[in-house]
C-alpha cells in the first residue's frame, strides 16, 4: 500500500481504512445512521481485495455472520449504532465465551430507543461493558479524531486476534461523521497482529486449553483441526461441561487472559498531568472540548491536566492511580449522565474529589460547559 499524504476522510471512512489495513476480509451489517458509511464503503472496497461484504437481515444476523466468518478464518467486522447494538448483545457474549475474534463498531447515537436520531451521545458506555448477560471480560476502545479512529480500529483488530475476544470500538456521531486530514500509514509501519494458529498435530489440539498467555491457538474450520464450538461452558476440548473444576478453570482463564494484558490494552493519553492539581478525564468527541478547556485554563496559569481514555474497558485505572498523591480533583467530561463518572468515583475511593461536566441531551459537550465546572473546582 502506498502512503497517501493528507487525505480528507470521515471518521467512518477511517474505520474502513483501519479495518482494511488490519486485514479485515469480512463484513456483515445492517444499515443504521450514523454508522452506515462504514458498510457502504466496505461494500465497494472489500470485494476489490478479495474480501466479502454481506448485508444481513438484521443486526443479530450481522454479528452471527461475523462470528461464523471468523471461525472460518476471516478477520471480520460489523458496525452499528444504538438500536442495532442492543440487538447484538446476546451474541457478544457468545463471542466472549467461545473466544471468537471480531470487531464491533458502535457509532453511538442518543437513546434509549430511537431517541434523537441521530444526535451525538456517549450513552452506550455501560452497555458496551455489561450489555450481554453474565459476568464477562470485554475490551472497549474509543477515539476522538479521524486519525485516532484509524489507529484504534487497527488496535481493535489486533487485540481481538491476540486475545481471542470480540472488541468493541465505541465511537460517537461527532467522530464518525467529521472530516479531518489523515495520512494512512504505509504497509508495515503499524503492527498488525494475526491470531495464533495451532502447530501441533490435529489429534493433540485442544481449542480451549490453557497456554502460557492464557490464549489458546485458534484453528479455522476447514484447517484439518476438527473441533467443537459452543456457547455452553466447555472443557479444554470445547465439549460442554458442568464439572465444577472445569467450570472454574475455563471461566477464570477467560478473565485472566485479558487481565494479564491490562498494561497493553489500557491506553490513555495525558497532557500537563505532571504538576496538575485538577485532571479533566474525557474520551471521544468530548475529549476534544476537554483539551480545549485544559489549554484555556493552562493559559490562565491553572494547574490543570487532561487524561484522555482511548480504552474505556477494562477501565484504565492505573493511569489515574499514578497521580494518587499529586492530584486533588478529577472532573469527568462526557456526553451522558455520568457513566464513566461513576466508574471514576468508584476507583477514587475518596482519594480525589470527583466532579462531572456532562452533556446528556444529545448535545455536544462544549469547552465552556467544561470550563464552568472546572473553574468552580479550581477557584
Amino acid at each position: 500500500m502506498k502512503k497517501k499524504n493528507g487525505q480528507l476522510l470521515q471518521g467512518n471512512e477511517a474505520v474502513v481504512e483501519g479495518a482494511l489495513y488490519a486485514g479485515c476480509s469480512f463484513y456483515a451489517g445492517y444499515p443504521i445512521t450514523p454508522s452506515t458509511e462504514i458498510a457502504e464503503v466496505l461494500s465497494v472496497k472489500l470485494p476489490e481485495r478479495g474480501g466479502t461484504f454481506i448485508q444481513m437481515e438484521d443486526e443479530i444476523a450481522s454479528i452471527g455472520a461475523c462470528l461464523g466468518a471468523s471461525l472460518a478464518g476471516a478477520k471480520s467486522m460489523t458496525a452499528t449504532s444504538g438500536p442495532g447494538f442492543s440487538l447484538m448483545q446476546e451474541l457478544i457474549g457468545y463471542g466472549v465465551i467461545s473466544e471468537i475474534p471480531m470487531v464491533l463498531v458502535n457509532v453511538m447515537r442518543f437513546g434509549p430507543s430511537t431517541g434523537l436520531p441521530t444526535s451525538p451521545s456517549q450513552g452506550d458506555v455501560m452497555q458496551a461493558r455489561w450489555g450481554t448477560h453474565g459476568d464477562h471480560p470485554i475490551i472497549v476502545l474509543t477515539a476522538d479524531s479521524v486519525p485516532e479512529t484509524f489507529e484504534m480500529t487497527v488496535k481493535a483488530f489486533n487485540f481481538s486476534e491476540k486475545y481471542r475476544i470480540p472488541v468493541i470500538l465505541l465511537l460517537d456521531e461527532v467522530v464518525g461523521h467529521m472530516r479531518e486530514k489523515i495520512t494512512i500509514p504505509a504497509e508495515g509501519e503499524v503492527k498488525v497482529v494475526d491470531r495464533l494458529k495451532p502447530e501441533m498435530p490435529p489429534e493433540w489440539y485442544a481449542p480451549y486449553a490453557d497456554t502460557n498467555t492464557g490464549v489458546p491457538p485458534m484453528a479455522a474450520f476447514g484447517d484439518g483441526y476438527r473441533h467443537h464450538v459452543t456457547g455452553l461452558v466447555h472443557d479444554a476440548q470445547g465439549f460442554p461441561t458442568a464439572k465444577p473444576e472445569e467450570v472454574v478453570s475455563g471461566m477464570d482463564r477467560l478473565f485472566s487472559k485479558i487481565s494479564r494484558g491490562f498494561s497493553e490494552v489500557c491506553i490513555t493519553e495525558e497532557l500537563y498531568c505532571d504538576d496538575a492539581k485538577t485532571i479533566i478525564l474525557s474520551y471521544g468527541a468530548a475529549a476534544r472540548s476537554a483539551r480545549d478547556a485544559v489549554e484555556t485554563m493552562r493559559a490562565d496559569g491553572e494547574k490543570v491536566g487532561l487524561i484522555k481514555l482511548k480504552t474505556l474497558w477494562p477501565f484504565p485505572k492505573a493511569a489515574l492511580e499514578k497521580y494518587e498523591k499529586s492530584v486533588e480533583n478529577i472532573i469527568v467530561a462526557e456526553m451522558n449522565r455520568g457513566q464513566i463518572y461513576r466508574e471514576v468515583w468508584r476507583v477514587a475511593r475518596g482519594r480525589w474529589q470527583v466532579g462531572k461536566a456532562l452533556a446528556p441531551y444529545g448535545n455536544m459537550l462544549t469547552p465552556d460547559m467544561i470550563l464552568d465546572v472546572a473553574r468552580k473546582v479550581t477557584k
Partner: protein
Amino acid sequence: MTTPNRIILDKYLRHNKKFPHIWCPGCGIGIVLAALLRAIDRTGWTKDEIVLVSGIGCSSRAPVYVDFNTLHTAHGRALPFATGIKAARPPLKVIVFTGDGDCAAIGGNHLIHACRRNIDITTVVVNNYIYGMTGGQQSPTTPEGMKATTATRGVIDQPFHIAELAASAGATFAARSTTYHAKELESFILKGLEHKGFSLVEAISQAPVCFGRRNGMGDPVEMVKREKELAIPISKTAGMTFEEKKDKIVTGIIEEREAQEWTDLYAGVKKTAGEE
C-alpha cells in the same frame, strides 16, 4: 449405497466425546441424525470439509456428538453463523441441524432470508411440533388444538409448514419426510446436500416425552406409526383442499429448481470489482 448404521456410527461419532447423549428414550432426533450421517457418507465428502451448525434445543445438541467441524450457536442463530462461514470460505460444506422452534420461531427471519439468498447451505429441521428442550411449550408448528404447557387448552394459532415456507421464500430445494420414512428422509437429505443452493429438509419427528405424552399419542412406536398413517405423498395431494391436507403430513419434494447460488454470484462481484 447406504452403509449400515453400525458402521456409520463408528465412522462419524466422536470417540473422544463423553456419551450418553441427552436425548430421551424413543425420541426421534437420533433417527434424523443417523439419516443425515448416512446421507453425508454417500456424498464422499471428508469430515474436514464439513461444518455442522446448530442453534439451541434438543435437536440442536446433535453436532457435539459427531466428528466434523461443529458449531453449537445461540437459539435461532444457526443460519447467520452458517452464512458467515459459507460466505467467508465457500469450499466448506455447511450443514445446519435445527429444531422447529429454533428455525421457524426465533430464527424465522434468518430462515426466510437464507432461502432468499439461495446460499449453498443444507438445513435439516427436526420438526417435533414442540419446544422440547424447555419442556413442551407450543412452537410455531404445533398443530391447532394440540396441547402444550403454554397451551393447556389447545393451541389456537395456525402452524407453519416449514418446507412450503422455505420454498416460497426462495429455497431452491425443499422436502419433507418423517422418522418413519427414515430411508426416504436419507435420500431427501442426500439430494439436499448435493443440491447447489439453499436446501431444506423437514423431518417430522416424534417427541414422546415433551409432546406425545401430553397429547395422548402413546409410546414412541405408536407415534412413529402415526407418522406413517398421516403421511401422504405430495403426488397424491393434487386436488385436495387446504382443509383436507391440514391434518396430514405431506411428504416428498416440495421444491426443486436451479438458480444462481449466492457464493457463485459473489465470486462474480469480486471478479468485476477486482478488474475495475
